[in-house]
């Protein structure tokens, strides 16, 4: 899920929700999130992993823009996503645990700051999904709402740093099927909605293989094709690109 969310941000660019219950009658959010972590594979499964490499594709709905993606994630906190889009080029988004950056064929290099940096560093935490308490200071179950016709717990998560997120966890399966947040960054405050589906087992983890992201009037579909664990990713894969190092020297 974390990997998907990072790719969603990189890729940037109707469900009727009707509260059914008052908050005080709902299960506690931390209980739900712990069940979600278990449903996705659990801490024990993550403890056996030190890296994950995902390949897949993306498509911007309606305008036919397509691309391929590869995500490298290495414990404890290194992450790099490369997206190559026909007619646009390559966009890289990375974090070495301290610095979060982007290198885009369109906009060039930039170092992330503020909320963007906070989100990127959180996403880069290899076990952040199961160790959610490390990153969120408050989680509250606020309602049960339907997503795609299924009852979901609506959980408002307030991170230690960065903007609030709202997650929807399917009541029956405990799987996270939707997330909304407002991305804050130099491009403005942009509402983002992501829906996750096609959950399949990869090793000992259960992962969404299809994600639809809606932001700024665009809809982007992301599909995971392959997932590999404990791959020996070259250490220099996460070295800061020259352009980023030059920006750091300014």
């Amino acid at each position: 899920m974390k990997c998907t969310r990072t790719i969603l941000k990189l890729a940037l660019g109707a469900v009727a929700l009707v509260p059914l219950f008052a908050a005080d009658t709902l299960p506690k959010a931390d209980t739900i999130l712990d069940k979600t972590a278990d449903a996705m594979g659990g801490k024990a499964a993550y403890d056996k992993l030190h890296s994950m490499v995902v390949t897949g594709s993306m498509e911007v709905k309606g305008i036919g823009i397509k691309g391929s993606l590869t995500s490298y994630h290495v414990a404890p906190d290194k992450m790099l996503v490369e997206v190559t889009i026909q007619g646009i080029g390559t966009i890289k988004d990375g974090s070495d645990g301290k610095i979060a950056w982007e290198l885009s064929a369109i906009q060039g290099p930039r170092i992330k700051d503020g909320d963007e940096k906070a989100i990127a560093l959180r996403e880069a935490d290899f076990t952040g999904g199961v160790n959610w308490r490390k990153h969120y200071k408050e989680v509250v179950t606020s309602a049960i709402e339907k997503v795609d016709g299924k009852d979901c717990y609506k959980i408002v998560m307030t991170p230690n740093d960065g903007p609030q997120e709202t997650h929807y966890v399917e009541k029956e399966s405990n799987l996270p099927v939707k997330m909304t947040m407002t991305m804050k960054g130099p491009m403005g405050e942009i509402p983002l909605e992501a829906t996750m589906g096609d959950f399949r087992k990869e090793g000992n983890l259960l992962m969404p293989h299809k994600t639809i992201q809606k932001a700024a009037g665009q809809e982007i579909a992301i599909t995971f094709d392959t997932v590999q664990f404990n791959v020996d990713v070259p250490k220099d894969k996460f070295d800061l690109p020259d352009e980023i190092q030059q920006l750091l020297k300014k």
Binding site: I63, G64, G87, S104, Q107, G108, A215
Partner: protein, 436 residues
Amino acid sequence: MCIRAVLLSFALTWSCAAAGKTTLTPEQRKLNIESFEYVWTTVRDKHWDPKLGGLDWKAVHDELRSAIETADTPEQAREVMSSMLRRLHQTHFGIFPADVYGEMKGSQGKDDESSDNADGNPGIDLRIVDGRAVVTAIAPDSPAATAGIKPGWEIVRIGGKELAKSIDRIDRKLAVTTLHELMLTRAIGERLDGDAGTQVKIEFRDGAGRRLERTIERVKPRGAVAHLGNLPPLHFWVEQRKLTHDVGYLRFNMFFEPEALMSAVSALMKDCAACRGIVIDLRGNPGGIGGLAMGLAGWFTDRSGTQLGTMYMRTAHVNFAIFARPNPFRGELAVLVDGCSASTSEIFAGGLQDLKRARIFGTHTAGAALPSVIERLPNGDGFQYAIANYISQGGKPLEGIGVTPDEEVKLTRRALLDGNDPVLDRALAWIGTAKN
């Protein structure tokens, strides 16, 4: 990704129906009502401001609905819909008669059997200067260059058809819009286009006033084929060079192919790091990928986080933020524009003008900063509408207004015939005298 192509889709297959003043059949009345409802619903659902500035859109509908039901002619029906759109008090919302689009679609003036996806041209760039189609540039090594065609020559006929009447007709119809020069130039320019390998007969008037007829082969356009999503294949080219020992020059035909474009800019920066100034020539550039305005601007400022402007959509406001490159160019920057500079070109030029980072030379731009969509209505008319608003950093909307140059310099046929480029000359003069 922020893709902002100018979607002035002249490729629609406009019919020439419904032009007369005859009484309508029940079926035609029905189509007019459907068109009315489509226009009203589209504005309600797609306009960037859901409140439409406080306008009671439902009341507008209810007020005009009976008028569309009783409209007796196509003109009356069109006027009812136009009246509805005028309540918005915004440009780029309008109803266009089908026959005007028939005139504007270049193939109407052709005398050959070229396909709708014609992929060839003789290598002639033209503008409408003082009501005449005038050659402004010849593509290097093109059939037009081989045929000896010169800038400044007037194009009198294409395919045996006189241009003067068409120019006059389109000119009068579009005189009120900033898109005037862009649409007029495209309408006439498209008559030169056809399938690669075919020929086009063109009658010119040279500098001495002599009429010269040339039959010129059409070839694939200059540049490499670029693909982006569902857009048809486009030919992209970029050139960068030094005009003098201390002035660099960058020109490209569209904001596409980011890696090729940025590679050319990077090469220019290396060659021209100590230059006094750089000229970016956006004349005739229709725009393309909106994000490239930010990406290109990043080479010319060291203030990361500044903005070219903001695009307002119904669901979000997107800042066009600039991320400064590690070693940006700090010398003078001149940007050349004309009425065929649109979309991303305007966002780039207008934003840097507002930030006082660039001085703009040429003529007023097209005022088409947004993806303005033209759709065919059930009754055959054309319906144009914008789906977002763009405000440049100085607080001015670009849509329907465009960028006003700091120094207005018009092309003249005489200057072209003499081998001069008065717009570029003025920019070079400014760079030569500007305080660095």
